[in-house]
């Protein structure tokens, strides 16, 4: 293994040196015979003007013998050190660095690593640059760069490009940061290209331990950059415990303000909001349904994803169409330096990814993932799938005594997704990207009723097919027009589709003589299409102002229909509408950079109601000192497309999308107010944010009040509107750096709904969790990454029953019924859970053992009520069963990349 490391190290050196030799002069004839290293360096420095940087622990009395014979100094030094315990490396500036072979080094550290000794040539100039991953050349979106002397800084855009407006001189120093990467100090030197200044950052930990300097500072999760914002890079979540898939959404659930109380859902319940109130943008297009396997996993394969930002509230005017929160996901462009492959294999799924350059200006990435019907998949699918009796009495054979003759088989159930991207960078100013995503779930819980004798094919089939997923793509053009203006324009298409076929089929003759195939049971279909165009423009016109404005037009076409027994179309909705939005905002830095304030206004026209909707927003941060800042935000938010949760079916695709119509389904609006502060000292961050959210026109769908027996249901009798309020405080104490990192998160919150039809008084919302405590710890020890997470949450509210009864039907069979009690009037017991994981990293990958719910805590998911008959007394009792979340579940994941 050590040999392998050395080889790799050597390879890197050769690779780097070959690229750099041009920077050093050619030495025609110089002979060193058994001289001390100190003498060797001194001569090269004095006679040839070569800059040599010798690491501290290098023995200066090491003897060198070498004849420079018409060779570059860099190459010569490299060859001269052969056979010694040292190696050399020449950086961009022609500085030759000598260090011990055994030293852990960061090759990239040498680039711009020395303070310039030259006199400055430029002052107060503009600097345009890009921040890239040092290994793959991948741009690092939203990375930050700061001028050390003035504390002025800038954030890179989605393409990793940034502009620093007023760099004091071309010998200034910059501090460059990106989550999951090592923070780097860059020393400017006169003569560099400041119009396309490329800064490369190294991954903080992970794949190549050899090039990592220990003790470097990096964060696993970044909070506090902007109000209500969290950032996690998918690279880091692989180290966290998982239950089959490393899941971005589940990683965010470990943060305060994002509830993890629904353990079977990867959905983002942000500050009392529902997942549909969270805008999920993937490479610029909206993704409407973001989960796999009944919501257990998020729909996104984390491997092709580069950056994820979550705004818990108070988000800026650039984002619209949702009332709670925003998650912005940026996928990787693909390695621009070499073709590379990677893959993971876990007890849940397999995934592969390929990325690389296509010529000089194109890069590509393609990643695919598919679940496989392993024991873990089956365990989760069995726990979540709709109950088998959901469509009983399923025609002849369903009731009655021949049930024993049935053999039911789950034909196939799986999910898959595909991510692809092609990036085209024709010049330093333009970037074009085509991104494609599709993900699908197929659930087949059909039962085939067959006779166990012989090879007869007789029998009936009961289908229960669910299929849902997304297809989306975007074509993006971003351009750095000049040092002042940057634009990002895209066209996109996004489709969400969900079909459920829970039927029995039979042939049927109508009175008019036509024959027809008729299905008993229910058929459900929801389809959403979103065609969008949007353009965001950013201007650095004035010092201390970043002006942002943009335009967005979306055409939404949503259909939803639900029919029963072919003849009863319960709901059949088709909504089409154009939504046109424009926004303007200005990020200002006032009072000597102490106050950052961003007023903004978003204006929307919604075709469904033919009305204008205004969303004024304001956020600000006040830097009291270097460590301490205060922050606040207020804003108005509207939502036109909403997801309605059905409570009449147990599982499967429980939600459907509809478009507001201004009548039964009014446009939902919310008001956010957030106030908080943060204190950062050394490796620690303490952050607190108090929030208040007021929601108007929140819609719930229920058949609970099914008013007319036997009649079709109409929207006004199944959709009920009300209001909601959420208030709470999120606390975060984070240890950001070091071998031991992690955080404590605590949220105290109250989320109420008031829907007059449900209850005359406000009642706790489904997601009302009073206390939620989370702990995340990650420890790095040599090649091992150990991590553990702990969750404690107050029990969620639920609607219980007043009582139960049963009715004997005409054929003598008995059916159970229950009568609901007050809405969400009860609470489940508190839940808690500990997960642990251990990852062993090796050169070509890692192996992770993860254990979910270590002490097998039985957390209640829901309660089930049934009447049971005592076989002796024939008395009928009401029984109550707790259905629990997943218990102890281990998983092993192997990740390989080459």
């Amino acid at each position: 293994m050590i040999k392998f490391k050395l080889c790799l190290l050597f390879f890197l050196f050769v690779y780097q040196v070959q690229g750099q030799v041009e920077n050093t002069p050619i030495i025609k004839d110089e002979y060193f015979n058994f001289v001390n290293l100190s003498k060797f360096c001194e001569k090269l420095q004095t006679k040839y003007g070569i800059q040599i940087d010798v690491a501290k622990d290098v023995p200066m009395d090491e003897k060198i013998s070498y004849w420079f014979n018409n060779i570059s100094a860099a190459k010569g030094v490299q060859l001269a050190l052969k056979g010694t315990p040292m190696v050399s490396y020449t950086d961009d500036l022609g500085v030759i660095h000598i260090l011990l072979k055994s030293a852990k080094l960061n090759l990239n550290e040498f680039k711009f690593a020395k303070q310039s000794t030259k006199q400055p040539e430029k002052k107060n100039f503009k600097l345009n640059g890009r921040i890239l991953d040092a290994v793959s050349g991948e741009p690092l979106p939203f990375s930050s760069v700061q001028i050390l002397s003035s504390q002025l800084g800038a954030q890179a855009n989605v393409d990793g490009q940034f502009t620093l407006l007023k760099v004091p001189s071309d010998t200034s120093s910059l501090l460059v940061k990106y989550l999951g990467y090592k923070t780097k100090t860059v020393y400017l030197t006169p003569g560099l290209d400041f119009n396309d200044f490329v800064i490369e950052l190294d991954v903080a930990f992970g794949e190549l331990d050899e090039v990592v300097v220990m003790g470097e500072k990096t964060e696993v999760m970044k909070a506090n950059e902007e109000i209500g914002m969290y950032k996690i890079t998918p690279r880091n979540i692989a180290k966290l415990p998982n239950v089959g898939e490393k899941d971005i959404f589940r990683a965010f659930q470990l943060l305060p303000g994002i509830s993890a109380a629904n353990q079977n859902s990867s959905g983002l319940y942000v500050r009392g909001g529902t997942p549909d109130q969270n805008l999920v943008i993937y490479d610029g297009f909206t993704v409407y349904y973001v989960d796999h396997l009944y919501g257990f996993f998020s729909a996104f394969n984390s491997n092709p994803i580069k950056d994820v930002q979550l705004f818990k509230g108070g988000f800026e005017s650039k984002f619209g169409g949702r009332i709670s929160s925003v998650m912005e996901i940026t996928s990787k462009n693909g390695n621009s330096r070499k073709l590379s492959y990677s893959g993971d294999l876990s007890a849940m799924s397999a995934n592969v990814m390929a990325e690389g350059p296509l010529g000089k200006k194109f890069t590509f990435l393609v990643a695919g993932r598919r679940s496989w019907a392993g024991p873990l998949y089956n365990k989760i699918a069995d726990a979540l799938k709709p109950s088998a009796q959901s469509n009983a009495p399923g025609g002849f054979g369903g009731g009655g005594g021949n049930r024993r003759f049935q053999s039911s088989t789950v034909a196939s159930s799986y999910f898959y997704d595909l991510n692809a991207k092609v990036n085209f960078t024709p010049n330093a100013k333009d970037v074009y990207a085509f991104s494609f995503y599709m993900g699908n779930d197929n659930m087949d819980n059909s039962q085939n009723v067959t006779l166990p004798f012989g090879n007869r094919t007789g029998g009936l089939s009961n289908s229960d097919l669910s299929e849902w997923g997304n297809i989306g793509s975007s074509l993006k053009w971003s351009r750095n027009w000049n040092t002042k203006w940057y634009s990002n324009t895209l066209i996109s298409y996004s489709n969400f589709h969900s079909n459920r076929d829970n039927t029995n089929q039979a042939n049927f003759n109508r009175t008019n003589g036509t024959s027809q195939s008729v299905r008993f049971g229910s058929l459900e279909n929801n389809d959403l299409k979103d065609f969008s165009f949007k353009s965001d423009i950013e201007g650095h016109v004035l010092t201390n102002h970043i002006l942002g404005f943009g335009f967005q037009a979306s055409y939404l076409n949503i259909t939803y229909n639900y029919s029963q027994n072919d003849t009863l179309k319960i709901i059949d909705k088709v909504n089409k509408s154009l939504i046109v939005s424009a926004y303007l905002q200005d990020k200002m830095r006032l009072f000597n950079q102490k106050l950052e304030i961003t007023p903004g206004l978003r204006v929307n026209y919604f075709g469904g109601t033919s009305q204008m909707y205004l969303e004024p927003r304001l956020s600000s941060q006040l830097y009291i000192s270097k460590q301490f800042k205060l922050k606040g935000a207020v804003g108005q938010y509207v939502q036109f497309a909403k997801q309605v949760e059905r409570e009449d079916i147990l599982s499967g695709s429980r939600n459907f999308w509809v478009l507001a119509d201004g009548k039964d389904l009014p446009v939902t609006t919310s008001f956010h107010a957030i106030f908080g502060g943060s204190y950062e000292k050394g490796d620690y961050l303490f952050d607190v944010e108090a929030y208040y959210k007021d929601i108007q026109n929140d819609t719930r769908y229920t058949l609970r009040f099914a008013p007319k027996i036997g009649a079709g249901l109409i929207a006004s009798e199944t959709f009920f509107n009300g209001t909601g309020t959420v208030h709470g405080i999120d606390f975060l104490l984070q240890k950001k750096f070091g071998n031991m990192t992690g955080w404590f998160g605590y949220t105290i919150a109250k989320s109420d709904k008031f829907i007059p039809m449900f209850s005359p008084n406000p009642f706790p919302s489904n997601f009302d969790v009073r206390h939620e405590f989370k702990w995340v710890g990650m420890y790095k020890y040599k090649r091992w990454d150990l991590s553990s997470t702990f969750l404690y949450a107050t029990g969620k509210p639920y609607t219980s029953i007043i009582g139960g009864y049963s009715v004997t039907l005409l054929d003598g069979s008995v059916r159970d019924y229950t009568e609901p009690s007050s809405t969400n009037g009860n609470r489940f017991p508190a839940q808690h859970r500990l997960d642990v994981a251990a990852t062993y990293n090796f050169i070509a990958g890692s192996l992770t053992l993860s254990i979910y719910n270590v002490y097998n805590r039985k957390n209640v998911w829901y309660k089930k009520f049934q009447t049971v008959v005592d076989p002796d007394t024939k008395d009928r009792y009401l029984s109550e069963t707790d259905v629990n979340y997943l218990g102890f579940t281990p998983n092993l994941t192997l990740s390989i990349h080459f």
Binding site: F508, T511, A690, G804, L810, N826
Partner: protein
Amino acid sequence: MKNIHLFLILLVISLSSCADLENGFVDNNPKPVVEAYLSPGTIVRMRVYKEIPYADVTSATTNKEMPIENLKITLKGPESSVQLTYKGEGLYQAPATFSIGVGKEYSMKFDYNGMAVSATTVIPAKPINYKADKDLITRQAIDISLGGGGLGGRPGGNFNEQSSLNLTWTNPNSDYFISVIENMESNPVEIVKFPVDPTRVRPDIRFRNEPIQGNTVAIRPQNFQYFGYHRVILFKLNPDYVALYKRNGNTTQNISTPPTTITNGLGIFTGVNSDTLKVRVIPE
């Protein structure tokens, strides 16, 4: 601005009232559950019992379905009104003289726990042109009582569409129908002879389909479990009965109000009408 004040106030309230655990339902008196099918030519019987209260599922005394005894139940028809007689175990019965007429409206009423419980229904017409395409079905007797290992040779019976028992009737208004097939033999013989096993539960003598709005249904021979004569009953239904087949939900995730037309009560009080055919299943 107002909102910010409100926000601050609410914040204070939230901090000072964080331990409030809402207490759920109010356990009022259990509702009465009624079960009555009114059909021409049959004596009206009605079962009335208490909803099992959820108060304490572990209590053996209260967590139990209990009959409601000695109610004064009035049954009113278009011509007359009668009081039902209590027959024990929650069962009430009308006098044999009280007849049920097609298309007529009937209602019942009683007081329970100070509440007037009532319901009304109309008796549907008898199915018209109810016919079966055969009255004899053959099934191969199968004997697995001696181990059952050597099965699978010759397929028994024909399970294609042609051999199905096809029931037809007239249904111009898309009314609801359900068919129930019931073995009539006093000692029915099972088509499949199983090994002797006293713990084995014999197949039900009845089977049915779901309510449909069509005018035909095909019953496959393999649905029959017994040899002998069977009643093939076609019920014409009211929509309130059909609603019973809708899923009501029995978990805290999907509970909804159960379908009923009974005021201040639960269950079913509905008129049905039926026609009956006979079919005989014989060994091949």
